[in-house]
Amino acid sequence: MTDYLFETENLTYSYSTRQPRPSLDSVNIRIRRGVRTAILGANGAGKSTLFYHFNGIFKPVSGTVKYAGKPLDYSRNALSELRNDISVVVQNPDEQIFSATVEEDIAFGPMSAGIDKEETERRIQDSLFKVGMEEYRSRPTIQLSYGQRKRVAFAGALAINPKVLVLDEPTAGLDPQMSQEVIELVEQLCVSGTTVIISTHDVDLAYAWADEIHVLREGNLIYSGEPESFFADYSAVASAGLVLPHTFSINNSVQGICGGRAEPYPRTNSQILCKMLPEGSRAGKIRMIPVTDSVPDSGDEGISSGIYGSVTRRLFKLAGREPDFHFNAIEYCLMEAIGGKDSVLYFDAPLKDRILEIIGRMEAFGRKIEVVM
């Protein structure tokens, strides 16, 4: 039996009775535990409204919401317990931050949950470390830039060690590198067992990251499942206010011209390129070096290096080492390999299996990339 985290049954919700159509209209959505889930939809499709049903902020007008198999209990205590499990990070950090200093704001969650001071201290340090904002700990929140505020809001949610993290447009308004950092952090959370649900209208992000997507259109759930079958139906995509992810569309075009199979569908640039690799060309190797407490020397001069994971990133920064690929490093290393060049990837040790899985996927696209530990 599948382990559903959230299940809704004919969930219907309206903000007011005068609304021409309900904000959510008989939505039956099932979100699986431990699955990278993206909720897609245009502005006003009902994404946020749906989220607020997950943590019991909104109560359905009709229908039910189940968390871990049990219908939500809307009593005060039960809700408080529920919200210790589920952290929702809203899009605009200014709404979410209400303390005057960074440290106070992050302490808010744990202290509200009655966690003692020592543990709170540990959580503050830990979550600030994860978002790379340690040096801002005692700064007033009002003096932070938009990107920094966004990170603080994120850290505040991490501090309660949620089982489920719901992120509303986590990369909106961030510059590209910061977006990559957020995605990397999300990966780390997934690996450590948190279920992450992202709502977004960035189809490229959703396609590259999610295992399963749910698409909302004007309050209706119009699709649930793996992304490819949804994107294959162009008119559905168009009517949902979305566009095709560029990897999907390039793959379709190339297949339309050359014939051949559209499957397997590449979701990343490296996968497309791999598919196009001429016969018999030599692929490069990826040397993987786990990092735990110090930056080891690869001993490989002259080949490109990348870093992946927050511990590695931090240690490199402390040691003043400059890798070639600071962000999106797995993807870059894979492209090096396809181009026949070796590369080295430094990574946080716990992420090993995930990285191997991503590298292993290349095999489906025609090339096995050799990994040296």
Partner: protein, 273 residues
Amino acid sequence: MSEETQMDTLAYSSRMLSWAPLGKFLFVIAILIVNIVTSSMMVPFVTLAIGLSMMASSTNFKIPFFVGLALAEAILILAIGSGMISITGDKADPAIWDTHLLWFDIYMTHESFNKAWLVMFRGVAGMSVMISFATSTPIPHLSQALKQIHMPREVSELIVLIYRYGFLLLERMDAMWEAAHCRMGFNGFMNTMRTTASIAVGIFTSSSNLADKAQIALDCRNYQGYFPIYNTPPRLGIKWIAVTVIAFVLIYLFGMYTEDWIDMAELFFGGSL
């Protein structure tokens, strides 16, 4: 950056930030009181010295431009006020200067002249002490201090929220102001009026929007009806009380002792008296 933001930035960068806010407050009040109750001309100088050294050690005399402007204005008003005091002496005393200017009677006595100076010195000295407090104590610290003296929790929470959202609305106002400039909103009197009204409406709307959304965000973060404080500022210890009392007594005695040390009238009009 708006004025409030500057004050806030300054306060958070102050070297006196970690001092107990209540202690600072008590100390400043005590100094202000002793500054007023003694009539020695020397006391304001001592107060000024304390105020300036506090300002120096706290923020290297940095004050935001507009606060500086406001200070200058306050000193100007003080000067005018003192001027008025000096020329409205008691007619029973001998005058050092007695004349008519239009419909105005100018009657300066030895005493009124000295009193005017005293007021002036006290005012300037008092301001320096108050500024040193204001630029080293952010509002959230103050609200926490209020909690320590058992002010109702709601009051201090309200202060923090108003403080937080006040800044956000200020940011919004700055942005709207600039946007209005982009669209020539201040071209002529009528347009300026219209623009100002629109900005007011905009701020009002966004404050109510913000309040709505903040309620949801509070729930998202499992708000339990109170704001826990992680880093309580140091409490008002016995040390602070001791320092305050000692300072008060010392300055007071000093004031008694130096009562007649300086006579401004004599300094200025010494020859003619």
